[in-house]
């Protein structure tokens, strides 16, 4: 029975399902593919020099996969709270609902894992070709299909999907059926205690790692800085709603000044729903923080060692972190679309009280811009902290090398994909028939 319900749930909620499915497929592909490349490179002695870089980029891929899949899945489960409440009200126990959610996640996970594993092989071949082209591995990387990376990818894919679903399920069934039906998106507490404690602990751990960067051996300084960035990202995304509410209030006030009607709508929705805003801001933060740390750590290390890269080898670092960035950018689009899609009713209502189509589009844009801006600020702060400590390790000064065009490009890509996701997801509500459904 549970499986039948789960299967039907997946079928009737295609959009959320597609988003989660895509996230898991890409995650498994990234992890499996990077694994295949690392294993392949390990067989060649001349590739020893770049093993460190390869492993680091694989770890970054793994980290963003876990982060993004967990985020999308919990968003997906929480968005269906009305369904869960309805099932509770016809007599399902919280345990059964929780099992249903897990079963649904299992359907997604199994299908997506298979697809991801299949895609991992061409992805690894592509990576190897790129490495050969850019001169990172002039002799090429032999990509052989071995079971190891697949097992890692499968375990990571399944475990993360199921774990994220269980955590989200606990939250979803933790509230009574009536409470949910009364209002689908009431904010209970901005920062529940477990979240605050976890966030605080992660921030403290990140601070310790930051402090360690200049203390450890020079060779491990860059990986430690990257680790600090990851841990700080976890902390910031746990404590994010508070920060986003503050920034939403401030930036929203500016928007409301520039564009009274639409800006006011954007601000009020950010201030009233900072957690929803954070789920869209957090992939932006992750992209900016990780990509900047990775790219500019290579640049800082090169500068300290007096290396100047020319020709195709300039593209080595961007290429290695590129697929992880593509992945997070997709998830920016994904989560903006998901957070906006649930607002169709609200948008129609705004139209019935006389909001012009242009005004609505501007309200969506303002909100997305503010969210992206908040994510960018958080991510930049985290990356700057890690890079400054890395600079201290390399040169003794709290300075680091960076490339403004690369940074601007990154922010631009995040902003554009956020805007695209937001506008596309609200298109039907903004232009379609205006009848209450």
């Amino acid at each position: 029975m549970t499986l039948v319900l789960a299967w039907n749930n997946v079928r009737t909620n295609r959009m959320g399902f597609a988003a989660s499915f895509a996230a898991v497929v890409l995650a498994v592909m990234l992890v499996g593919g990077s694994g295949l490349v690392v294993v392949g490179a390990a067989t060649r002695a001349e590739l020893n020099g770049i093993m460190g870089l390869l492993v680091l980029s694989a770890v970054v891929s793994g980290f963003v996969s876990i982060f993004v899949v967990a985020g999308i899945l919990s968003l997906h489960v929480l968005r269906q709270r009305r369904t869960w409440a309805l099932l509770r009200s016809v007599g399902m126990t919280p345990r059964q609902v929780s099992r249903l959610i897990t079963a649904e996640a299992l359907v997604v996970a199994v299908l997506a894992n298979v697809a991801g594993c299949v895609l991992a092989v061409p992805y690894a071949a592509l990576m190897a070709a790129f490495m050969q082209m850019t001169g990172l591995a002039p002799g090429g990387v032999p990509v052989k299909v071995t079971t190891g990376p697949f097992i890692v990818a499968l375990v990571v894919g399944l475990a993360v999907t199921l774990l994220a679903a269980r955590v989200a399920a606990r939250k979803a069934v933790g509230v009574g059926p009536l409470e949910v039906l009364r209002d689908s998106a009431v904010q209970r507490r901005l920062l529940p205690w477990p979240r605050a404690v976890a966030g605080g602990a992660a921030l403290a751990g990140g601070a310790v790692l930051l402090w360690l960067v200049p203390q450890v051996k020079l060779k491990s300084a860059a990986p430690t800085a990257l680790g600090a960035t990851m841990v700080l990202c976890v902390g910031a995304s746990a404590l994010g709603p508070v920060a986003v509410r503050g920034m939403g209030w401030l930036l929203g006030a500016v928007a409301a000044r520039l564009d009274p009607g639409a800006g006011m709508l954007a601000r009020s929705s950010l201030v009233a729903q900072p957690r929803r805003a954070m789920s869209a801001a957090s992939p932006v933060m992750l992209t900016v923080a990780l990509a900047c740390t990775f790219l500019f750590a290579v640049e800082t290390t090169d500068a300290a060692a007096g290396v100047t890269r020319t020709g195709p080898s300039v593209w080595v670092a961007p290429m290695l972190v590129g697929s992880a960035v593509v992945y997070t950018v997709i998830s920016v689009l994904n989560s903006t679309a998901m957070t906006m899609a649930e607002r169709a009713g609200e948008i129609r209502l705004l139209r019935t009280v006389g909001t012009k189509p242009q005004q609505l589009a501007r309200a969506v844009c303002w909100e997305t811009l503010i969210v992206t801006c908040a994510g960018t600020l958080l991510g930049t702060g985290i990356a700057a902290a890690s890079l400054a400590m890395l600079g201290k390790a390399e040169t003794g000064e709290l300075r680091f090398a960076y490339s403004l065009p690369q940074y601007a490009g990154l922010v631009l890509i995040c902003t554009l994909s956020g805007l695209a996701g937001g506008l596309a997801a609200t298109r039907r509500a903004r232009h379609g028939a205006l009848l209450p459904d």
Binding site: A185, P260, L265, V353, G354, K356, L434
Partner: protein, 241 residues
């Protein structure tokens, strides 16, 4: 010559195409005089909600004209319709009338804010007081009961002094007592402010508050009752079932 706030001329609205085609309104012509309270009744599927949606500009008829303050709104583009909704038409649905992230006060002044106007705060306060929400200005919809939410929606509709106020089953989600209070507010809007109100309902007691009741069946107005009692309405409805 009666002064009509809203005038429908030969309005037809059809849903679907081919074999599944359903005519929701068939050449309906009716005027709603300024300062009157009209209830629209009929069995489900009779076209009463479609009538309200076409008359308020939420939906476009396939043919015919809808005149509000003399202008044919079926020719309006989206922008003109938006301005019409801000200034000349108020709509209240059965539920979900308020933007969840805005407070009661902000919801009331929303149409003015969208038009970049600053309504007189003392008038907003007076309206909220009048609908029984003094002291709740800062509450969000989630902190208000269903009846209170409907009152905020009524206050919002009244603030702009619209040509006409449409209500689609405004008491459908409320208990009897709260429903009566909301109806009394609509009645008061007609009597005290000279507001024009058009309300769709299936409840004879609610309809008995109106000056006039239209009975719809199969997309046509089959009967018009002037100042009927709830019993009379019930009998007419019963006779048609």
């Amino acid at each position: 010559m009666v002064d009509h706030a809203v005038l429908l001329e030969e309005v037809t609205r059809t849903y679907g195409k081919g074999a599944t085609e359903v005519a929701a309104l068939r050449r309906v012509s009716i005027g709603f005089p300024r300062g009157s309270f009209t209830a629209v009744m009929g069995p489900s599927g009779s076209g009463k909600s479609t009538l309200l949606q076409c008359a308020s500009g939420l939906d476009r008829p396939d043919s015919g004209a809808v005149r509000i303050a003399g202008q044919d709104i079926t020719r309006f583009g989206e922008n003109e319709l938006a301005v019409l909704r801000r200034d000349q038409v108020g709509v209240i649905f059965q539920a979900f009338n308020l933007v969840p992230s805005l407070t009661a006060w902000q919801n009331v002044i929303l149409p003015s804010s969208l038009a970049r106007r600053r309504p007189d705060p003392s008038r907003v306060r007076e309206l909220l007081h009048r609908v029984g929400l003094a002291g709740r200005e800062g509450h969000r919809p989630a902190q208000l009961s269903g009846g209170q939410q409907q009152r905020v929606a009524i206050a919002r509709a009244l603030l702009g002094r619209p040509e006409v106020l449409f209500a689609d089953e405004p008491t459908g989600a409320l208990d009897r007592r709260t429903g009566h209070e909301v109806l009394a507010l609509l009645r008061e809007a007609v009597d005290a402010f000279g507001q024009t109100v058009v309300m769709v309902t299936h409840d004879p007691e609610a309809a008995a508050q109106a000056d006039r009741v239209l009975l719809l069946t199969d997309g046509r107005i089959v009967e018009v009752l002037d100042r009927p009692s709830a019993d009379q309405i019930g009998m007419r409805l019963g006779g048609r079932r």
